[in-house]
C-alpha cells in the first residue's frame, strides 16, 4: 500500500526552483532511501513532506497525498505529528533527557506522570538508548555523546507516535559504530513505521532500504527496488553515479 | 483550542509591539503639541538663530542659538578627548589581551557605563571644577571644557564597545594571513584593522555625539548654565540642562514653559536625525 503519493511536486524559494515535477509513491512500512549528489534537493524534498518548507520561507506546487488525502487538508500540527523528522545535526533540547522526551507529549495533552514515564521508557528502548540512560533521566541531554544525542532525537520524534519517519542524513556526523547502531534500529522500525532516509552513503542505502530513489538537479531520475536499482540501473546517469562513487 | 490560544498570543504580541512603537510617535506628538503654541508666537527660525534667552525680561526674549552651540560644543570637546583614548583602548582590548583579561575589562567598561550621570556630575563639580579654579586660578571652573572632559569619560564605554566589537572580527579574519607574511602585529593593526574598522569608529563617534548632546545631569552640574555664546574656558548652557533647570520654575502654560518644550523639540529632532544616520551606518557595517 502506498502511504504517500506525490504528484508533480515542484518546490522553490521565491523564484529559485529546487525541485521540478517530482512524482513518487512511498510504500507503507518500507524503508525508502533517497540518494544523489549534494545540492540535488534531497533535504528540500524531506522538509516539504512535513510542511517544514513553509517555515523556511519556501513554497510548493503539486500534490502530496498522505493516506489518500491531500496533506494540505490536514492541520499542519497533525501532519507534523504523523510525519516525524530527524535532522542531520543532532539537535537535542538543552534540557534533561526526560524533558526532551515529554516535551511533545505534554503539548498533546498527556499530563499523567505514569503515561509520560511509559512513553519515555518505550521510546528510549526503541532508540536503543534505554540501558545507557535509564539510571539518570534527569541528566542534561547536552552531556550525551553525538551518537547518543542523535538516538535521543530519534526517540523524541517517536514520542508523538508518527506513521512516517523522515531522516535527513542522520549518520553523517557519526562514527561507524554509532552508524551501525542506528541502521540496526531502523531495520527494526520498519515493522511499525514507514521510513524515508536521505543519505549520501550509497552502501548505507544498499544495506538498509527496500526502495531507492536517485535524484539529480532537483529531478527524480530513477526509483525502484534497491537491489534492482543497484544491480541494474536503467538510467545512464544512475549508473554513472553509482559507479562513480564505487570506482 | 490550541489554534485559539495561538491566535490570542500572536494578537497580543502584535498589539504590544505596536504600542511600543507608538510610544515614539506619542513622544514626538506631545512634545510638538506643547512647542507648537510657542512657535506661533516666536517663528522657529528666529528661535534657533536668535542670541538672547531671557525668560524673565519684559517682553521676554526667547531664542537658543548660543545654547544649541553650547550643546554641540561640549559634545565635540568630549569626543575630541574620548576618541583617541577610546579607540586606543578598543585596539588593545580586541587585539592584544587574553580572554580572561578581556572579560575583566569588559566588566569594568560595563560598570563605567552604569555609573549614573549625577555621580559623574558630582565628581566633576568637586574635582574637575575645583581643580581648574585652584590650579589655574580661573575665575570660575565651570566651563565648556569641564563639561567636555566629563562627557568624554561618559562616552568612553560607548566608543570602546562599538569599536572593539568590529575590530575583533577584522582581527580574527586576517590575523593568520597577515602573520604568515611575517609582519609585526602592530603593523597589521595599523594597516588592516584600523582602516577596516573605520565605519565602526564612525558609528561610535555618532553614537557618542548623540549621548553627549542628550546628557543632562552631569553637564548641568559643571558648565555654569549661562546662556551666552560658548567659549572653551567660559560658562555655557546646553539644551538638556536648560530644560532640567528651568522647567521647575516656569509657570505652567507661560511662554517660558512652552519655550522649554520648544527647545526640547529642537533637541529631539537633532537627535532623531543623528540616530537615523547611526542606523544606516550600523546597517552598512552588518552587510
Amino acid at each position: 500500500m502506498d502511504i504517500l503519493k506525490i504528484k508533480d511536486l515542484s518546490v522553490g524559494y521565491g523564484d529559485k526552483k529546487i525541485l521540478k515535477d517530482l512524482s513518487i509513491n512511498i510504500k507503507k512500512n518500507k524503508i525508502t532511501s533517497i540518494i544523489g549528489p549534494s545540492g540535488c534537493g534531497k533535504s528540500t524534498f524531506l522538509t516539504t513532506l512535513n510542511l517544514m518548507i513553509e517555515e523556511n520561507g519556501g513554497n510548493f506546487t503539486g500534490e502530496i497525498l498522505f493516506e489518500d488525502k491531500n496533506i494540505l487538508s490536514y492541520r499542519k500540527d497533525d501532519i507534523r505529528k504523523k510525519i516525524g523528522i530527524v535532522f542531520q545535526k543532532p539537535a537535542p533540547f538543552p534540557f534533561s533527557i526526560y524533558k526532551n522526551l515529554t516535551y511533545a507529549p505534554r503539548y498533546y495533552g498527556i499530563k499523567d506522570k505514569k503515561e509520560l514515564d511509559s512513553i519515555v521508557d518505550k521510546t528510549l528502548k526503541m532508540a536503543g538508548l534505554f540501558h545507557e540512560t535509564h539510571e539518570d533521566l534527569n541528566m542534561s541531554a547536552m552531556k550525551l555523546s553525538g551518537g547518543q544525542q542523535q538516538r535521543l532525537c530519534i526517540a523524541r520524534a517517536l514520542t508523538v507516535d508518527p506513521e512516517i519517519l523522515l531522516l535527513d542524513e542522520p549518520c553523517s556526523a557519526l562514527d561507524i559504530k554509532n552508524t551501525a547502531n542506528i541502521e540496526e534500529m531502523l531495520l527494526n522500525f520498519s515493522k511499525d513505521y514507514t521510513i524515508i532516509i536521505v543519505t549520501h552513503n550509497l552502501s548505507q542505502a544498499k544495506r538498509i532500504s527496500d526502495y531507492t530513489a536517485f535524484m539529480l538537479d532537483g529531478e527524480l531520475v530513477e526509483f525502484g527496488e534497491t537491489k534492482e536499482m543497484f544491480n541494474n540501473p536503467k538510467d545512464k546517469r544512475t549508473k554513472e553515479y553509482i559507479e562513480g562513487i564505487y570506482g | 483550542m490550541k489554534n485559539i490560544g495561538e491566535k490570542i498570543f500572536s494578537t497580543v504580541i502584535k498589539l504590544l509591539t505596536l504600542f511600543s512603537l507608538l510610544i515614539l510617535i506619542f513622544i514626538v506628538i506631545f512634545i510638538f503639541k506643547e512647542s507648537f503654541i510657542f512657535f506661533r508666537e516666536v517663528p522657529i527660525l528666529k528661535f534657533i538663530t536668535g542670541r538672547t534667552w531671557n525668560p524673565l525680561g519684559d517682553p521676554n526674549k526667547l531664542s537658543i542659538f548660543p545654547i544649541i552651540l553650547g550643546t554641540i560644543y561640549v559634545s565635540l570637546i568630549g569626543i575630541l578627548i574620548a576618541l583617541p583614548i577610546g579607540v586606543g583602548s578598543a585596539i588593545v582590548l580586541s587585539n592584544y589581551t587574553g580572554e580572561r583579561f578581556k572579560r575583566y575589562v569588559r566588566g569594568i567598561i560595563d560598570i563605567l557605563a552604569g555609573i549614573p550621570s549625577v555621580v559623574y556630575g558630582f565628581i566633576g563639580l568637586l574635582v574637575l571644577v575645583k581643580f581648574f579654579e585652584v590650579r589655574f586660578s580661573f575665575p570660575s571652573g565651570e566651563s565648556v571644557l569641564a563639561g567636555g572632559i566629563l562627557i568624554s569619560i561618559m562616552i568612553l564605554p560607548y566608543i570602546i564597545s562599538t569599536c572593539s566589537e568590529s575590530m575583533e572580527k577584522v582581527y580574527k579574519e586576517y590575523y593568520q594571513y597577515s602573520s604568515a607574511l611575517g609582519v609585526s602585529k602592530s603593523y597589521m593593526i595599523r594597516k588592516i584593522v584600523i582602516p577596516e574598522s573605520r565605519r565602526a569608529i564612525l558609528a561610535g563617534v555618532v553614537l557618542a555625539l548623540g549621548r553627549g548632546m542628550g546628557e543632562t545631569m552631569a553637564v548641568m552640574m559643571v558648565i555654569g548654565n549661562a546662556p551666552i555664546m560658548p567659549k572653551l574656558l567660559k560658562k555655557c548652557q546646553t539644551i538638556p540642562s536648560l530644560i532640567a533647570l528651568e522647567m521647575g520654575m516656569a509657570e505652567v502654560g507661560s511662554l517660558h514653559y512652552h519655550g522649554l518644550f520648544a527647545s526640547g523639540f529642537i533637541l529631539m529632532i537633532i537627535l532623531l536625525l543623528i540616530n537615523i544616520i547611526l542606523y544606516f551606518i550600523r546597517k552598512s557595517i552588518d552587510v
Binding site: 520561507g57 | 495561538e6 504590544l16 511600543s20 512603537l21 513622544i27 560598570i111 549614573p116 542628550g214 532640567a244
Partner: protein, 278 residues
Amino acid sequence: MSEKIKDSIFKIWLTMSTLVLFIIVVYIFGYIFKNGFDSINLEFIFGNPKGMPLGSEGGVFPAIIGSLLLMVIACIFASILAISTAIYTVFYCNVKKIENIVHLIIQCMAGVPSIVLGLFGYTLLVMYLKLGRSLLSGGITLGIMIFPYIQVRVEKILREVDKSIIESSYALGVSKVYTIFKLILPLCKSDIISTITLAGGFAMGAAAPIVLTAAVIFAPVPRSLSSPVMALPFHLYILTGEGISLEKSYGTALILIVILLIINFISMLLGMKRKEHN
C-alpha cells in the same frame, strides 16, 4: 618615518590610552569609596533626612526605597513591551521591511535624550493623564528610557538560540506558542533576566527623567503608586547642587554606587549561569 618608529609611537599611544582608562575607573571608585565611607552608618541607611536645610542631617532611607521601587516599575513596564517586541520581530514578523522599520524606530527611541523623555512624561503622564508627580509616572518614564536597551538585547538573545532546536520543535507538530514558552523562553530565561537587571540599574541611576515626573526633595517611603518619591540620584543632585551637605553627598553617592555594583554583580552571575549550562 620608518615603520619601526611608527610602530613604537603606535604602541605608546595604545599603552597610554589603556592606562588612562584604568586610572579613570580606579580614580572614580577610589574617590567615592574613600570619601563616602565615613558618612555611612546605620542611621544614614535607615533614617529619614533631617535637619535644616533638609538633608543636612539624618539618612536617605526613603530615597533608597524610592529608587528601588522606581526601578521595579520601570523594569516591569519596559520588559513586557520589550520582550513582546523582540518575540514579534524574531518569530512573527516575516516581512523584512517591517523588521527594518521596527529597528529604526527602536534606534530612534534609544536616541531620545532622557530629559526629553522627562518632558514627555510630564505632559502626558503628570499633566494630561493626571497621574501627578508620582512613583507610577516616574517608573513609566524610566521604563520608556530602558525599553530600547532591553529590546535590542533580548532580540539578540532570541536570535542566538540554535535554529535547529527550534526547527526540531516545529517538526514535532508543536505550535509556535508552545515552542516559545516551553523551549525558547526557559532557555533564555537567565540571559533575559540578566539584561533586565542591568537595565534596571540604568533606570535607577537616571535623574533627568524623574526630575519632572516623580522625584521630590522630601517624601516618606511611598505608600501607593500615586505618591511622590525620593530617589537617590535626585537626592544627590539636590544635596550637591544646593550645597546642602558635602558629607551626605558623598554618602549618598557611595550608596548609589554600591547598589548599582550589586545589581551589576547579580546580572553578571545570571549571565554566567547560562554559559555553565551549555
